[in-house]
Amino acid sequence: MNRPLAEAAVIRCAGQTPAVLEACGLSYAHAGIGTIFEGVSLAVRRREIVALLGSSGCGKSTLLRVLAGLEQPATGSVSFLGEPLASPHPRSALVFQQPSLLPWLKLADNVGFGLDFAHQPRAGKEALQGRVAAAIEAVGLKGREAAYPAQLSGGMAQRAALARALAREPELLFADEPFSALDAITRAEMQDLLVDVVHRWHSAVLLVTHDIDEAILVADRILLMGGRPGHLAQEWTVDIPRPREDHPEAVTALRLSILGALRHASL
């Protein structure tokens, strides 16, 4: 179930399995702070949900931005669908901790935001409208297309943010603690929704979280990040059948394994 990471990294850098995202030997340094993470190698395969778990401040968000092509690494390389990544890929999408909807746009326009930008793949107006409608329907906001963000609850706004990402038909969805600002009940709903829609959209997900239970319930694979500068410490493949709530023993065992790693590793 879990294997030493160095070995895994070597296999991945060789790049034999078709991966959506592959990163090799990444490090990142911030001018004022110094090295934020180093020696990070990872891969996200098609349709795979990978959770990046780690304590506060270990560099998860920074790593996510590098992997998304929003920042350039100091060393190492990122490739997306086999191509070296220099800028954000049109088939990737972001979801943040805050919905960050544009308050001057109706929900439907928020969901479709940017699909018509110059560097996005050309698509007919009707095709785009269809994608927006499908995304809104999938997150359960059908009928609220004309609502403005100020008129949506926190949970609904985060659903809209998820729909905005889905409308791009992403090969890979980057999500940075997308549910940590929600109440427990809404969070559980959103976790189920996320798994459901990314399966239907055939998207892979890289989910940053510091909630162990969220990682276990949602992910196919869990990467543990820690230390200063941050690095990947350990990984688990989660092969518990869904819904995972129905397998409490396996969930508990994995949970204890992760907690043990957190305690023993010098994170």
């Binding site: 049109p90 805050q98 008129q151």
Partner: protein, 250 residues
Amino acid sequence: MAGILLPLLPLAGLLAAALLWAAGAGWLGAVTPVAASFSPGPTVDALLQLLQGRDLWEHVALSLQRVAVGLVIALLLGIPLGVLTGLSPLFSRTTTPLFQFARMISPLSWMPIAVMVLGVGDAPVYFLLAFAAVWPILLNTAAGVAQLDPNWLLLARSLSATRRETLLRVILPGITAHILTGVRLAIGIIWIVLVPAEMLGVSAGLGYFILDARDRLAYSDLMAAILVIGFLGYLLDHAARSLHRRWLHA
């Protein structure tokens, strides 16, 4: 009970002011007889007269046009400078003391120089109004840029937005609420500066009308013009407020 009376309170305030006005004019009238023409009765008569004629309307139209021109100039200068101030720490550091300095100079103190340089006519009035209005617009625009949600910019970058797309689709709409706050403050200032600015070198407008009424010793007309100025200013402020509310959909 309170629910029924609450909407009437503003009216009560206005009524109280009218009573005080009548009492004050009556008391003043006992000392200087000419003050009788300041009192509510003659003022309302004069106002009705003026509203039926064409003169006042022409002065009002001209003043409002000057407000619009001054505001547009202030927007054309204030928004780009504000965006630059908000985006570039270097520009902001360079210009902040200068702007804070210039902002504190009453625009009217420029009036003699403006008339000397720009000649008599509309130009110095436009200059004074724009100069008065540019600061709240500039400062609010800069504050709006500083308060943009960083995730919006990240979102734009994740969409590989061009500079133009980022500016037109994220930054400008994202700061519009702040710009509208600036516009509202600017209108308030313009409206206050307008009347004295129109007292020099122009031959029409509400400021001119006030001076002209004084010269004609038509004090009821003068009071009526004051009422009109207050009422129009109220309407302008109200319009700016509702624009702001509508934009936010709150």
